[in-house]
């Protein structure tokens, strides 16, 4: 057990030890996760709203696809993104044809990581949002409409009403992003100082047998996401509809 305790102590020491490289890694993790989360929300929340609030033929199939998307293996996503962005991949060729010059390299950069993260977390956000939106009484949307709400305003109201569920969606999406390693490793390359984030750093240390350090980094990551989630939760908890 003292292994965990010493990892805990180490994590504190590391966190306040002033190691610039660590701060850089943490910063990059937060930047990548933050941007990815915002993009995943921009995709997942509207999509979840539309699927959750409308009835259309094939809806069940769409939901099944979204649910399947929650279980995309990160390595496969990484591989796919890699293949798309590779110099011998289709986008590269297309760019060359269209622009008449070589595409600047996207692989092993932050944008590539973000692309992979967004692909991984969007279905999570969509799927949970969908269920949350579907649990908002249709009468409520009708009420909004009857008071003159446009389709967009109705959607905003619905999302607000389903806030708790949507926060869960965002939390799940964030969790998927912040902990993900397979895809970022593959398309980011875990390049020190450039694309190394907390998870790939942890993986690296684990591979080198530095379990204590890996664990300490893991605790730092978990601690950071706890702080973020705690802020989150304050929003999520306020104004529950059905509590007594």
């Amino acid at each position: 057990m003292e292994v965990f305790w010493s990892a805990f102590v180490d994590s504190i020491k590391l966190l306040f030890g002033g190691d610039a490289a660590l701060y850089e890694i943490i910063g990059l993790s937060l930047r990548v996760s933050g941007i990815s989360l915002v993009l995943a929300m921009c995709i997942g929340v509207p999509l979840g709203y539309v699927i959750g609030s409308r009835r259309f033929p094939g809806r069940g199939l769409v939901v099944a696809i979204v649910n399947t998307g929650m279980g995309l293996p990160p390595v496969v996503v990484g591989l796919t993104v890699y293949m798309l962005l590779s110099r011998s991949g289709p986008i590269w060729d297309l760019y060359l044809t269209l622009m008449g010059q070589e595409m600047p390299r996207v692989l092993y950069t932050v944008p590539a990581m973000i692309v992979a993260q967004v692909i991984i977390s969007s279905p999570l956000v969509t799927g949970v949002t969908l269920a949350a939106v579907a649990s908002v009484p249709a009468e409520l949307r009708l009420q909004a409409r009857s008071l003159g709400a446009s389709k967009l305003q109705e959607a905003i109201l619905t999302v607000k009403e389903a806030r708790r569920g949507i926060m869960a969606a965002v939390a799940a999406g964030f969790g998927g992003i912040i902990s993900e390693v397979g895809a970022v490793n593959m398309v980011g390359g875990n390049i020190a100082g450039k694309t190394r984030v907390m998870t790939t750093a942890i993986q690296l240390e684990t591979g080198q047998g530095n379990f204590g350090l890996a664990l300490a980094l893991g605790l730092i990551l978990i601690g950071i996401s706890f702080v973020i989630m705690n802020g989150f939760t304050r929003v999520q908890q306020s104004g529950g509809r059905y509590e007594r």
Partner: protein
């Protein structure tokens, strides 16, 4: 990469006072090289010698590294699977292959040595392990180490199969951890073993045999994004300067070098 004038470095003659414009160089290598910590000294030295390049290490399996090279997503490769490397160059994916260094393989196992292989030859050891049915963990990932292991079995005419033979499909560090936990034997490169020794309940039981030889080579990728850089890296790593660094790495920490430079 002549098509990329914007990123073209002033390689010939960096003008003093002006900040040097660096270009990225993608080095695909094996996890074992990265995990051994060699890059932590090698890369800074290269970047000091060639400040116009910024090396980005992508540490993956040997097979994956070759694939990245084939797709031109890496500029230069440092891997250890000689036959595949030669085929890679022969197929035109790499410009040339040069030996860089080697380290040696060892067989490690539990201190109790249930199969009693200590001190014997490799062939002897493998036979005893398979006969006694003692646990053996194989990398099972087509890595250089795995390729070497398969060759050894073949040479001793044993077809490793059965409950005792575990094909793990994992990196060297993981396999060592597994061997330690499972009380089994495994074939490892010395560098990784020495690096992790303190956390393992494993001892060197078989070493020094000439068949246990692990050659690393460097290959600049044909038509790479940063061809100049790739060539510069390949040239540099076989230079005396780099070879000295390689030879000295690990002496301080482990009392013996982890890699033996052998560039011609």
């Amino acid at each position: 990469a002549a098509e990329e004038p914007a990123e073209e470095p002033a390689a010939e003659e960096p003008v003093a006072e002006e900040p040097i414009e660096t270009t990225d160089l993608i080095l695909a290598s094996t996890t074992s090289t990265q995990d051994s910590g060699l890059f932590d000294v090698l890369i800074p030295a290269f970047e000091e010698a060639h400040p116009e390049y910024k090396v980005n290490v992508i540490a993956v399996g040997t097979g994956e590294a070759l694939e990245l090279g084939q797709n031109k997503d890496a500029d230069v490769l440092l891997v250890h699977a000689k036959a595949k490397e030669e085929a890679f160059v022969a197929d035109g994916y790499g410009t040339e292959r040069r030996d860089v260094m080697y380290n040696d393989f060892i067989i490690v196992g539990p201190p109790a040595d249930p199969a009693g292989i200590k001190g014997g030859t490799v062939a002897d050891a493998l036979k005893k392990i398979s006969d006694s049915g003692a646990t053996f963990i194989s990398r099972g990932d087509d890595s250089g180490t795995h390729t070497a292991e398969k060759a050894l079995w073949e040479k001793s005419a044993i077809k490793p199969a059965g409950a005792w033979y575990n094909s793990a499909g994992k990196g060297m560090g993981d396999v060592l951890t597994m061997a330690s936990e499972m009380g089994g034997y495994t074939l490892t490169d010395r560098a990784t073993y020495l690096n992790m020794k303190n956390d393992l309940q494993l001892e060197i039981l078989c070493e020094g045999d000439t068949v246990l030889f692990n050659q690393y080579g460097v290959i600049p990728v044909t038509d790479a994004t940063n061809m100049e850089g790739a060539q510069a890296f390949a040239d540099w790593i076989v230079s005396d300067e780099a070879q000295t660094i390689i030879g000295e790495y690990g002496v301080e920490k482990f009392g013996a070098p982890l890699f033996f430079p052998n560039a011609q």
